[in-house]
Amino acid sequence: MRTLSPPSAQSSGNSAPPSRRPSRRRSSTAGNGRFGYVLLSPFLLVFVIGIVGPLVYAVYLSFFRERLIGGNTFVGFENYARALGDHLLMAGLWRVALFLAVQVPVMLAISLLAALAIDSGRLRWAALFRIGIFIPYAVPAVVASLMWGYLYGDNFGLVGQLGRAVGVQVPHLLDQSWMLASIGNVVTWEFVGYNMLILYAALRVIPEELYEAAAIDGAGEFRKAWSIKLPVLRPALLLATIFSIIGTFQLFNEPNIMQSLAPNVITTSYTPNMYAYNLAFNGQQFNYAAAVAVILGLVTAVVAYAVQSRATSREQAR
């Protein structure tokens, strides 16, 4: 994750090796190192309770199986072998992979264009747009899913009403072929503003002189966006991409809420996370659910890491 910072981070000091620091300063802080432990210890405590503990326990559980006779027995990788051959899990993983391939690029492209537009200075009421587009992020996923679910559906059907008003036949958005796109729209609606803000904040730190120099060289707005802004945005874009990847693989809230509106379309294994949840709480298969959760975590980490290392190696090749 350290590679997320561009080479220019040298000056900010967090990546400078301690040996380069003046020796006097090092000795003055070294004596106070104990206070560093004091400040850090609450974090370490909740970190162990909230993350390390459950993680270790999940791995431990995943190696056992509950038997009617004989209780818990160690079964090694049996749960993992079962998961890899489980077509319900695999179908769920493919579904979120498809979602990732379509929804995330669309969402990030819209966020990027919005951030560039707001930063360009060519936009009237820029501050209003910035805060306005961000507001959906404050809406709980549960409320957003309920709301959009109602909008898509037959009962309230604003989407259908608007379609009829302009004379367009709107497809049934909660059926088999449209559901994934409908969920994609809810997720996009929730997070476009959030990603826009991350990118916009990165744009704000570009020094004005850079634009002035570019203007002297005769660069137009598009040239400036392409040659100055995009390279600066790369680390923030990478960060947004990685958070989006993590979020996609963990997809749960939106399909879980909308399940009540379309129970035949959104099955209990619609996403891997829903599958793990249903295994544990409707099937009482805690050990197998733990193995599924571990696999899901591993897949997420591997994909996030692959995207990050690809992005950074391209960065270094430049």
């Binding site: 802080t29 200075g121 909008l151």
Partner: protein, 298 residues
């Protein structure tokens, strides 16, 4: 073209407004707001006109206050209880997360001690472990130690914010100059006093940024409370609202759909959104500057 207002203290590159761009962004704003406008209008309708009237206009009569009254009094005021729970989880959980991440990030940025880099590497790795993947194992572990179905089961995991720690470390690096710390030490101030009287003030915008992001995360949290809580009296709003939804759609097992629940859900949703939107608007000056100078500057 409002060149006179735009030029104030700015370079000439920022004074030509583009109408096309404004219209395009206007469409985006419409996309962001239209569902919320629908929700607001829906909260003024009774269940009959909710199902029959046009979504972007009022129905028969104005029922907002009746609806609010119904939401607050249904089932002996369970909604108020859920609201209180959410408030508790948000204030203690998110407040705790922000305080803990600020102290930890500051420690990692400004003190050298053994294991510092190992801790930071571990925490960065943990950012990619999402809370939802941990929810099932968290339930299993907490049920083992008897924490399940108590507010602690929601509060404790909410207080961990690896991203908050990362953000605060990057922020503290620049926001608290080493020279200021040394000056304080030379003047004889203890580390604790320096932290509380000097550093915390400088860390303000970063703190508010972390606070707001963890506030949103805890206020909107659904998966974890859904799993670790079974007693409705500890539910947060998100889990409670979805319970009402399952009553309305008949998914709760009874088989009978109860459209009378829709006004409760819609109005309850509006009331659940308001506090966060208000917090965002009031604190935006602080968190936006914190975001700009801290999280992505690197």
């Amino acid at each position: 073209m409002s060149t006179t207002t735009a030029r104030k203290g700015r370079s000439p590159r920022r004074n030509r407004h583009s109408t096309a761009l404004t219209v395009a962004m206007g469409l985006m704003l419409l996309y962001a707001f239209l569902p919320l406008v629908w929700l607001l209008l829906a909260s003024t309708k009774d269940s009959k006109s909710l199902l029959s009237s046009f979504g972007l206009w009022f129905g028969d009569g104005f029922h907002l206050f009746t609806n609010i009254h119904d939401v607050l009094t249904y089932d002996d005021g369970i909604y108020v209880r859920w609201f209180g729970n959410t408030l508790l989880y948000a204030v203690v959980g998110a407040g705790g997360a922000a305080v803990i991440a600020t102290a930890g990030g500051y420690a990692l940025a400004k003190y050298r001690f053994r294991g510092r880099n190992a801790v930071f590497a571990l925490v960065l790795g943990a950012i990619t472990i999402p809370g939802t993947a941990l929810a099932v194992p968290t339930y299993l572990l907490f049920s083992k130690v008897g924490l399940v179905d108590s507010p602690w089961a929601v509060l404790l995991p909410s207080m961990v914010s690896p991203f908050g720690l990362y953000l605060m470390r990057v922020y503290a690096q620049d926001a608290v100059p080493d020279s200021v710390l040394e000056a304080a030490r030379i003047d004889g101030a203890g580390e604790l006093r320096t932290f509380f009287t000097i550093s915390l003030r400088l860390l303000g915008p970063g703190f508010v940024t972390v606070l707001l992001f963890s506030l949103v995360a805890t206020w909107n949290n659904y998966f974890l409370p859904l799993i670790v809580l079974s007693d409705p009296k500890w539910f947060p709003l998100t889990v409670g609202l979805n319970q009402w939804n399952s009553f309305a759609t008949g998914a709760a097992g009874s088989g009978a759909t109860t459209t009378g629940f829709y006004p409760l859900i819609v109005t309850g949703s509006v009331l659940a959104i308001v506090p966060l939107v208000v917090a965002f608007l009031f604190l935006q000056r602080f968190w936006q500057s914190g975001l700009a100078s801290g999280s992505v500057k690197q």
